[in-house]
């Protein structure tokens, strides 16, 4: 998990302003049952949380903190299980390079 894959939005050390914190980015529908606010932050469609479970309101910093914690957790797990992660994209690029026929010399 690379750290530059963190969700966008103000950093944890940004000054706290109540109104700003309680105005999440406008939601964008991404599927029939989900929407997104910050990049990589997905939420259940609010219409599905009206009867048995009500949606909680989070300040933006907390939403982002939860997302970042998850990224931290996953990065920690990788380091816990192995010294380094080899990316699949490297391997894929390598086999695609090898399977591309070499053009004949001009």
């Amino acid at each position: 998990m690379r750290t530059d894959d963190q969700p966008t939005g103000p950093s944890a050390s940004a000054p706290y302003r109540f109104a700003e914190q309680h105005t999440p980015p406008a939601p964008v529908r991404v599927s029939e049952v989900a929407q997104t606010t910050f990049e990589h932050v997905y939420e259940v469609d609010p219409r599905l949380m009206e009867v048995h479970v009500l949606q909680q309101v989070f300040p933006n910093w907390d939403t982002l903190r939860i997302m970042r914690s998850r990224a931290d957790h996953l990065a920690w797990m990788h380091t816990h299980f192995a010294e380094k992660v080899i990316t699949g994209s490297e391997i894929l690029a390598e086999i695609e390079r090898e399977s591309t026929p070499v053009p004949p010399p001009l």
Binding site: M1, D5, V30, S31, V33, A34, T36, H40, V41, Y42, V44, L48, M49, E50, V51, H52, V53, H73, L74, A75, M77, H78, H80, F81, A82, E83, K84, V85, I86, T87, G88, S89, I91, L92, E94, I95
Partner: protein, 523 residues
């Protein structure tokens, strides 16, 4: 003529779920006092209720029926042995409890009595860097242990879905399955030996040939495995010596998407059968699982609709070996029509697999509304060729339940390789259960569904569990069918080692060893 009566009551522990009488409880606590400090004997309601259940959903309205009379927290093998000896003399049930993460009620005190919580036995007794072993109290978690071992470049690769919270002792009692067992072996292979308190309070050291740090012996009968996976019915492991590996230099965990289940299934088989040396496992996600993830998992929500099945494979080892193996598996995946899902999903999802107990705990009513649900997982050991048929049959069983009630939700299935050759898979169906709405009727339907799920595994030549055990209501009814003549051997072993039926009684139909068929009376 003078007849000397034995000190305690004669016969087995009573076949009852009633709490101890005040007199018996007082006598028990009095007997425990010389053995344990005051803070090791817990009588408070919260302490006892917290150790009455495991994470698997159960009929909450009957919680009070399985609360132990006393919880003890010993700190040594000697203390455990003394407690068990007292329990055996007084004919009071004893139930060992480790992480309490099991899904088949192994740690649940069906007949109350004494719960032995091993969490205080969490020391690292010896780290042997030359022979690559560590000796620990069974109350330690694999995660905490590995944090310590990492300083020495070492690694204990027992990796259940409850990795951060399950304990070494529970892994022994259940003979657990490991996510990366196709490379490193499962708990039975990784635990070299252990001290074990028998139901009489005798202490047995058991290993390969009863060695301490020996992985392969042929001296005498092979007894180690008998004392693993018994769900606490044959005693309590207190101190274990584990086999250590070098911490892997590199990890590679590609995830691939397929537009149909059949290709994904075929690809999983081909990946496992390839025999890549660093291969640590492959996982097949079926269509129901993909649908569930696309509903609730950040990584999968934006996936295109033609993604119908997923496969992942994981390799651990030196970078040069992993790269060689990785190229081979990528080529195989390509031949099967796989699309690589990208580094972010691949790495993120794999890392999340070590901690599946953090699964989102909500489901949906049939009309789509979100409901709070608990997670349950039914597993079986199924041959590669039988995975599709078992999957279809299991989804049918769940669909039938859901047609009747919103209490159950089908969260899809995974199939994980058990072995490097891909012969069999831990096949699991995740079920959301609206626990607050469970009543006797819904519970009965669920127990029947569990029995049907087990029967499907057996009908396809599998075993009812690859990891969890099979002592919960429903599946347990089929244990004699699964084991056949072996079930009689179980009864013989149980009776001979636990003459008074005090050790975790009421499990695995073992009451039959004492002339009682309590199959139905303890529900």
């Amino acid at each position: 003529m003078t007849i000397t009566e034995p000190a305690g009551p004669i016969g087995t522990a009573p076949f009852t779920t009633e709490p101890l009488s005040d007199d018996r409880l007082t006598a028990l606590v009095r007997a425990l006092r010389p053995v344990l400090a005051d803070d090791q004997i817990l009588l408070a309601k919260t302490d006892r209720y917290n150790r009455a259940r495991v994470p698997a959903p159960f009929p909450v309205h009957r919680w009070a029926e399985r609360v132990p009379d006393v919880v003890v927290m010993p700190t040594s093998t000697e203390q455990v042995a003394a407690v068990v000896r007292i329990a055996n003399e007084m004919r009071i049930p004893v139930v060992p409890r480790d992480g309490g993460t099991g899904l088949t009620d192994g740690a649940v005190p069906h007949r109350r009595g004494i719960v032995v919580d091993v969490k205080k036995m969490n020391q690292i007794h010896e780290l042997d860097l030359v022979n690559r072993t560590v000796t620990v109290g069974t109350g330690i978690s694999m995660m905490k242990l590995n944090e310590r071992l990492a300083k020495h470049g070492l690694f204990y690769p027992d990796d259940p879905a409850s990795y951060p919270c399950s304990l070494v002792g529970g892994r022994i009692g259940t003979s657990g399955w490991s996510l990366i067992g196709s490379r490193y072996g499962h708990t039975r292979d990784l635990v070299l030996s252990f001290d074990h308190v028998l139901p009489t309070g005798d202490v047995l050291h058991v290993g390969d040939g009863i060695g301490r740090k020996i992985s392969k012996s042929s001296s005498g009968y092979s007894l180690k495995h008998l004392f693993m996976g018994h769900q606490g019915t044959l005693g309590i492991a207190t101190k274990a010596t584990l086999k250590l590996f070098p911490k892997p230099e590199a990890e590679l965990s590609p995830f691939w998407a397929f537009d149909n289940y059949e290709d994904a299934h075929a690809c999983t088989g081909a990946l496992a059968r390839a025999g890549v040396a660093t291969f640590a496992g492959a996982v097949l996600f079926d269509e129901h699982k993909v649908a569930y993830l696309r509903r609730d998992d950040e990584a999968y929500i934006p996936q295109p609709a033609d993604v119908r099945a997923l496969v992942c494979s994981v390799m651990y080892g030196y970078e040069d070996e992993v790269r060689a193996g990785g190229k081979r598996l990528f080529r195989i995946a390509k031949e099967h029509g796989a699309r690589y899902l990208g580094d972010e999903i691949s790495e993120g999802d794999w890392a999340a697999r070590h901690d599946r107990y953090a699964t989102p705990l909500h489901g949906r009513t049939k009309d789509g509304q979100v409901i709070p649900m608990s997670w349950h997982c039914e597993d079986a050991a199924v041959n590669f060729s039988a995975v599709p048929a078992v999957s279809r049959a299991w989804h049918e069983i769940l669909a039938d339940l859901r047609r009747k009630t919103d209490v159950f939700d089908d969260w899809g299935m995974f199939a994980y390789t058990s072995a490097a050759t891909g012969v069999d898979y831990l096949t699991e169906i995740d079920v959301g259960i609206w626990e607050q709405r469970l009543d006797d009727k819904a519970w009965a339907a669920w127990v029947k569904a569990k029995r049907d799920i087990g029967a499907v595994a057996l009908a396809h030549g599998g075993s009812m569990s690859a990891c969890h055990g099979s002592c919960r209501e429903g599946e347990v009814d089929l244990v004699p069918e699964e084991l056949g003549r072996g079930f009689d051997v179980m009864l013989d072993v149980k009776r001979s080692l636990d003459p008074n039926n005090i050790m975790n009684p009421g499990k695995y139909l073992l009451d039959r060893a004492y002339g009682r068929d309590t199959t139905d009376e303890n529900r």
